[in-house]
């Protein structure tokens, strides 16, 4: 929809959308800035991972390069650029070189549609949406593009001409297909509530109705598990399981080409965290106030909402790292049965119930922003959470493994442990 060029010269009202020329200009500025900041964040997530890992394992971690190891990512980058790039015998060259890029690009592209602050009024330009590309297909775009990340890994595994790499690539493709479905299904409820797939609308709906994590906890749980599997991190890092597959799909890679794979993983972590925040934790919304969701937009609002958004995302990045150093890896059959036999049926039942409830509430004429609506959703949510995490789970995922042991046996085992024989090592 190109306006005539005279629009470009008009002095814009900062509370109205910008003209086409300014829109394109601001789009370029946003894309450039977002790219730079994103790459920087990805680099520093590697440092965060190593420092948090060290903290969890009670050691120091990299703290020598610069203050508190702050220049470590730069040193690592230089090191990786200096190393020799190896090309294995019999590798299919073009695909081998392309694979790291194919793995990295989707993670970054996905981030382009996530809104990160309230709109910013720029004098002389207009109201600039704080999202790189506000697509009408919003969330579908993220699903579509994030489903492409698997090509990088699969192709890397295949083109290396190495059986371990190939096995890693095969595992990656099977895993990502399985969990993509669960991921898409878990977000259907969110989209049902928002009535739209545009992520700006999803954020606005949460500002008006309350965060989705309170109304749809189960959907958040399924999304978090699926997102963890999509990023190929522990406990879902079977494609690179080092105890079985050396290093899996990137066993033959070295230097900067290798380095692209961990970078893609961290990029995926940041993108998944942003998605969790946007879909379930209100995006840039400041809780307990509607002040930030309503015009007139100001620079203060933009800065505050952006700060809140960044802190939420940082929490989830920490959450990913925390999980990695806490839980062990799944077995392959456990991975498949979790995806197909637990998450997918659960998501389907959940969609049916949520859709029926929404239909019933709408038919009864309950206003979507009123307290009755929120109360009904919250009640359904509590019932589902209790049902899944306490009744159905029983030692499989959330509750501890001893919940499957009979009560009397557990008491006997505890009594033995309490005598201190086992702990002090003296023997019975």
């Amino acid at each position: 929809m190109m306006h005539s060029l005279s629009f470009l010269l008009q002095v814009a009202n900062p509370q109205l959308p910008p003209t086409m020329g300014m829109f394109v200009l601001m789009g370029l500025v946003k894309a450039g800035a977002a790219f730079g900041i994103y790459m920087l964040c990805v680099a520093y997530t590697t440092l965060a991972e190593r420092r948090v890992a060290a903290w969890i394992q009670d050691r120091l971690g990299p703290n020598r390069v610069g203050p508190e190891g702050f220049l470590q990512p730069i040193a690592d980058g230089i090191k990786n650029f200096m190393k020799e790039e190896a090309l294995p015998d019999g590798a299919s060259k073009a695909l081998f070189i392309m694979a790291p890029a194919i793995a990295f690009v989707p993670a970054m592209l996905t981030w382009a549609v996530i809104p990160f602050a309230s709109p910013l009024p720029v004098p002389g330009v207009g109201l600039v949406d704080m999202v790189v590309a506000d697509l009408p297909v919003g969330f579908l775009f993220t699903l579509a593009i994030s489903s492409l990340g698997v090509y990088g890994i699969t192709i890397a595994g295949w083109s290396s001409n190495n059986k371990y790499a190939l096995l890693g690539g095969l595992r990656a493709s099977a895993q990502m297909i399985s969990y993509e479905i669960a991921m898409g299904m878990s977000t259907v409820c969110v989209l049902l509530l928002a009535g739209n797939v545009n992520l700006n609308e999803v954020v606005a709906q949460q500002g008006a109705q309350g965060w989705n994590v309170l109304l749809l906890t189960l959907a958040f749980f399924m999304f978090a598990v699926a997102a963890l599997a999509e990023t190929n991190r522990v406990p879902f890092d079977l494609p690179e399981a080092e105890s079985e597959l050396i290093a899996g799909y990137h066993a033959e890679y070295s230097s900067m080409r290798y380095s692209m794979f961990p970078l893609a993983e961290y990029a995926n972590v940041i993108t998944s965290s942003s998605l969790m925040v946007t879909l379930f934790f209100g995006g840039w919304d400041i809780p307990f106030t509607t002040w930030d969701n309503l015009p007139p937009w100001t620079i203060t609002k933009t800065l505050l909402t952006m700060a809140l958004y960044v802190s939420k995302v940082m929490f989830f990045v920490f959450f990913f790292i925390w999980l990695r150093w806490t839980v062990p890896r799944f077995r392959y059959d456990q991975l498949m049965s979790l995806g197909w036999k637990v998450l997918l049926p659960m998501a389907l039942v959940y969609i049916t119930v949520v859709a029926s409830l929404l239909l019933g509430l709408d038919a009864a004429g309950v206003a979507r922003t009123g307290w009755a609506f929120r109360g009904a959703m919250l009640g359904m949510n509590v019932v589902f959470v209790v049902l899944v995490f306490w009744v159905l789970d029983r030692g499989r995922l959330i509750s501890p493994a001893y919940s499957r042991v009979e009560r009397e046996r557990l008491a006997r085992m505890r009594a033995v442990a309490d005598r201190g024989d086992l702990l002090s090592g003296k023997g019975a």
Binding site: M2, H3, S4, L5, M20, S92, A94, L95, L135, P136, V137, L140, F141, L143, A144, I145, S147, L148, V150, Y151, T154, I155, W158, S159, L166, G169, L170, S173, A174, M176, I177, E180, G195, N196, V197, N198, E201
Partner: protein, 189 residues
């Protein structure tokens, strides 16, 4: 006026760019010996088609094109190709005899002739309803209920519900058939 000219120039550039890349990728897809390389070229074709859908303002179809074909179906293809170890071109046994080439050339020429005949008789232009521009303008003026999904979902679940459900039954039958075939082979062993 200038803006309109710029817009149509931009549009034409995009159309030819994606169209040519799609055709080139499709040619590469059928000529590559390595099945994995061929599959990657097909992925490229799908992408270019998605780009062309976006240019037609069919953004939902474009997203579905990438999500379903590129992200799911082609990944399964790739998975099967790798699992069957078709990586060695020498082991490939496809119908590439002389008669195959001749037949393919003949079919290709017939299709090309059909396209040219249609183009000559302005058949495609006559198929466009005369009030298309007015309808498009009216559609653009009214805000869409339910965002970009609504206009697709409403006919799908109202007018064409039966066809939609029957299609899913068809897919289910295919899945059941695959399971039955897979089961029979293990039982026979």
């Amino acid at each position: 006026m200038l803006a309109n000219q710029f817009h149509s120039l931009f549009y034409a550039f995009g159309f030819y760019l994606f169209g040519l890349v799609a055709i080139a990728s499709a040619v590469a897809f059928v000529t590559r010996k390595s099945p994995v390389a061929a599959a990657m070229w097909l992925v490229n074709v799908m992408f270019c088609l998605a780009a062309l859908y976006v240019m037609l303002d069919a953004q939902f179809i474009a997203a579905m094109q990438v999500l379903v074909y590129t992200g799911a179906i082609m990944v399964v293809f790739l998975f099967v190709i790798m699992l069957l170890n078709l990586g060695h071109p020498s082991e490939l046994a496809d119908a590439r005899g002389r008669w195959g080439y001749i037949f393919a050339t003949f079919i290709g020429l017939v299709m090309l002739a059909e396209v040219m005949a249609l183009n000559r008789a302005n058949t495609i232009e006559r198929m466009i309803p005369p009030d298309l521009a007015a309808r498009a303008a009216a559609a653009a003026a009214t805000p869409l209920a339910g965002g970009i999904i609504g206009p697709v979902a409403a006919p799908l679940f109202n007018e064409y519900l039966l066809a939609f459900e029957l299609t899913s039954v068809l897919l289910l039958a295919a899945i059941v058939g695959a399971v039955v075939l897979g089961k029979r082979r293990t039982d026979a062993r």
